[in-house]
Structures are given as structure tokens and as C-alpha cells.
Subunit: 265 residues, 2 copies
């Protein structure tokens, strides 16, 4: 597991970490706007699992294999989305099996779930493909579609359709070892980043265990320049997070503006 | 440059390729939904530059350096977003310089642009930080904010704010060597993937130079199962793309349904 060694933040000894692998030509061609990454990220926050990397690769087996092997050896958990349907471009299952060096087999339970779903004669070969999982994997069920995902070792293989993926996360949740959640507080101020930067850096330096992010925001109507800044304090110790947030509120006041809480994230 | 060697598609000899590196804790925490990847992907399609990978990394210098070095040596172009503002968490410039093994310097033109933007006394040290670029880099201008991005070798470093990033793409466009654009045709049918999969695979096999993607769609109101499928044919030869699209229209008709054009992507 990697240490986050730049700003010297977070305790790193018992961190549960995660990566996301988004699989699909449709994301890289711009056809489809991915929203699964954000969903998974928000799912992991209360579990105390730190999402530290994401990758997007095309429907190319060698690319999927290389990415899976890079990520599964580095992070506690890997979550993949996409490529487990019935058509020829759904190659994720075979790629994952190849990454783990195991065969792909028809899973009996998956066959039953899928068979029950279709009318007689409709459970054709293409649909049977969705019951194929790598040897040693366990199913990930979902309440939307019959087709399961699967877990093999620390890799969770999910559908790309957001509604189905979300349902699969519910089946995965009890399998994850939760850590200490990161707490965050977000403060919004009308001050531009350039005015707040120096005192904000001092707050960051005084709280090496926290990560303080600064995000300018822009109204669509603004001709140029930002309309203000959202400051996000993140850390595992609530007292420290609160203390840093209070310092930010104070420094904004000293600069002649308020810093008011907004929905944190 | 990598060959796409799975489905045996695309001519690979003179391909211009690209990767995107999204930098920022706010994406991995789920605070911010990235839209820049889609914007860059759609920008590259008409230029005939194939986006083959994307990564998201946190605001940690070692992570940015590792990702940049992995991507810039593998693809024709790398586009980064995020981390070039005035605050302590904006570390992209230093990380890129470190990846290239060069120093960071105050750029004279960037200093002038920024100085002109602020009232006397407001061009403070934090704002001057935005004029720092790696030695040997050239500026990327934008019409929204004064703060420039920069290009060093095949790496284009852009702001994370979508409006500013889009403006920077306009400055980058003439610097890119365009290739032969990929043409796509999208067809929508009410047939589910499972019914169309087998004949669709035959079309793919008959057109090894094309990539045919199959994407189920779901209405929010659908209790389960898909409402149909969008089939996307992509390739560099318009006659081939059209031929495959016609074959798909024909096979949908044979299955008792229409496949009608939709906005391609």
C-alpha cells in the first residue's frame, strides 16, 4: 500500500486503499460521460477506504490485464466497471481471468439466476455468456438485472450501467474491511484563491495530518476570474478538522469576508 | 505508440494517440464530478487523435510524476488537468518539471499577463506562483482567466476548471498533428443486447478494421432489464463504416425491429 508522502498527510499504517478501473471505448471516445467513478468514490468515503487512483482503458484485453495487475498489487481493493454484458465487445471477464491466470467457467448459480429470468427459448448462448466467471470468483448480485458481477481476490468486477453498478455496490459493502472514515468540512468564501493562498498554506503547514484543498468556483455568467473559493479540510481526526476549519473561518474574517459551511465533500 | 491488437482494429502505423491525466483529490473524494475527460475526448475525435487511456491521481507529487512518465513515453500526446492555481495544493507545475528533470522558472510573458490583470498591490506572491513554468515549456493561453497553462514536449498542462480548460484546448489545437478522424455511426434499436449479440458478432468479425460497440440503455422508469441497445460502429473508412451500419440495420429488421440512426458518438 502506498504512503501519501507529499503533504505528509493521513496516518498510513492501517489504511485501506482502493483504485477504480473504468473499462470501455465509449468513455474514451467521449460518447458516454462516466459517473461511476464519483459514485464509487462517495460510496467509499464513509467506509474509510481511500480511493487513490482511477484509470480508464479501452475494450482491449492486453490493456485491461496490464491495468488490473498494476492496480490489484498496489491497493487493498480494485473496483472495475463495464464490459460484462453479452456482446462481443464485453471482454472484461476473460481479461480478469487472464490477469489472474485462471480459467473462465460457467457458474451454476449464475446460470440458474439468468435462466429464471428469461422465457423458454430466450436463454441463448449470448446470454449464457453472462454466467461465465473466472474460476475461484464469487458472484456479485444486484436487484436490477439478473446478470451478476463477480469478486476475485481483491478485485470487484461490476457492470457499467450506473443503476446496476450502484446495486452491485450494496452487495459488495459487507465484504469490505472498513477503516476510519475521513471527515471533511467545506467552507465557501467570496475571497479569490489568490488572496487566501498565503494564510491558507500556513494553516496546512500547522496541520500536517490534514489535507486542505482549495477550489475556485465560477458562475456561468462571470466574464472572467472566479467568484470565490471553496476550502475543504479533510482528515481522520474530527477535532483537528474542526480546529483547522475554525482557523480558516478566522483568516477569512481577517481578510474581510465570511467563510460559511457548505455541504462537505 | 501502442497497437490496439485485440479486436484487430484500426490501422496502427501512423496513429496519433493521446492520454489524459486528471490531477486532484477532489475527483477521488467524490466531491467533484469530472467532465474534462469527456470534453477532451470529444475535442480529439475530429482531429483523428485516438484517446487510449486516462488516469486520475491525487495531489501527491510522486504520483503525478510516475503517471506523467508512464503516459508521455507511451502516447503521442498527454493532456493534464488541475493543480496549476495559486494555492499550496497546486503542485502540478513542480511535479511536471520533476518528471522532465528541469527547473521551474518565472516566465516573463506569464508575469506580464498576470500583472496586467490585477490592481496595483494585488499581484502578490501566491498569484506570481501562477507564472512559474518548467524551463523549456511554452505557455498555453486562455481567454477566460489570465493564468496560463503550459506545454512541455508532448505534455499539455491545463487548468482543472472546465471553462478555462476548454479555452486552453483552443490554444492547443493548432499545435497538434491531426490524423485521419474516426467516423462513427450510432443506431438505436429496441432489441435487447442478448438477442442481437450473435449476428452482431458476425458483423464485427466481417469488419476487422472497425470497432463495433454495443450499449444497452435503460429508462429511469424501467423496473428491470434494458429498454434497448445502441450500436456504435467506428472506423477510419467511411465506406466500411456505412456498410457495417447497413448490415446492422438489416439484422435488426430480420429480428423484427428497426435500428434507427441517432446522434453518433
Amino acid at each position: 500500500m502506498p504512503d501519501i508522502d507529499n503533504h505528509g498527510n493521513f496516518e498510513t499504517t492501517t489504511l485501506a486503499t482502493a483504485a477504480v478501473l473504468i473499462i470501455g471505448d465509449e468513455i474514451l471516445s467521449g460518447r458516454t460521460q462516466d459517473i461511476n467513478l464519483t459514485t464509487i468514490a462517495r460510496f467509499l468515503v464513509p467506509l474509510g477506504i481511500d480511493l487513490l487512483e482511477a484509470r480508464v482503458v479501452p475494450d482491449v484485453e492486453s490493456e485491461i490485464v496490464a491495468a488490473i495487475n498494476a492496480l490489484r498489487t498496489r491497493y487493498s481493493y480494485v473496483f472495475t466497471t463495464g464490459g460484462i454484458g453479452p456482446t462481443h465487445d464485453d471482454i472484461t471477464t476473460d481479461a480478469i481471468a487472464s490477469a489472474f491466470g485462471v480459467a473462465v467457467e460457467y457458474d451454476e448459480t449464475a446460470m440458474e439466476i439468468l435462466a429464471a429470468r428469461y422465457k423458454p427459448g430466450e436463454f441463448n448462448e449470448a446470454r449464457r455468456r453472462m454466467a461465465r466467471i473466472p474460476r475461484g470468483a464469487t458472484l456479485i448480485r444486484n436487484r436490477i438485472s439478473a446478470a451478476p458481477g463477480f469478486q476475485i481476490a481483491n478485485v470487484f468486477v461490476m457492470a457499467g450501467v450506473p443503476r446496476i453498478m450502484e446495486a452491485m455496490l450494496e452487495d459488495i459493502r459487507p465484504r469490505l474491511e472498513a477503516g476510519v472514515p475521513v471527515i471533511s468540512r467545506s467552507l465557501r468564501t467570496n475571497l479569490p484563491e489568490g488572496r487566501i493562498a498565503a494564510p491558507l498554506e500556513a494553516v496546512q503547514k500547522a496541520h500536517a495530518d490534514l489535507r486542505i484543498g482549495s477550489y475556485p468556483y465560477f458562475a456561468a455568467s462571470s466574464p472572467g476570474g472566479s467568484n470565490g473559493t471553496v476550502l475543504v479540510v479533510r482528515g481522520r481526526n474530527k477535532a483537528d478538522v474542526d480546529r483547522a476549519a475554525e482557523e480558516i473561518i478566522r483568516l477569512a474574517a481577517e481578510l474581510g469576508d465570511a467563510a460559511v459551511p457548505e455541504k462537505s465533500g
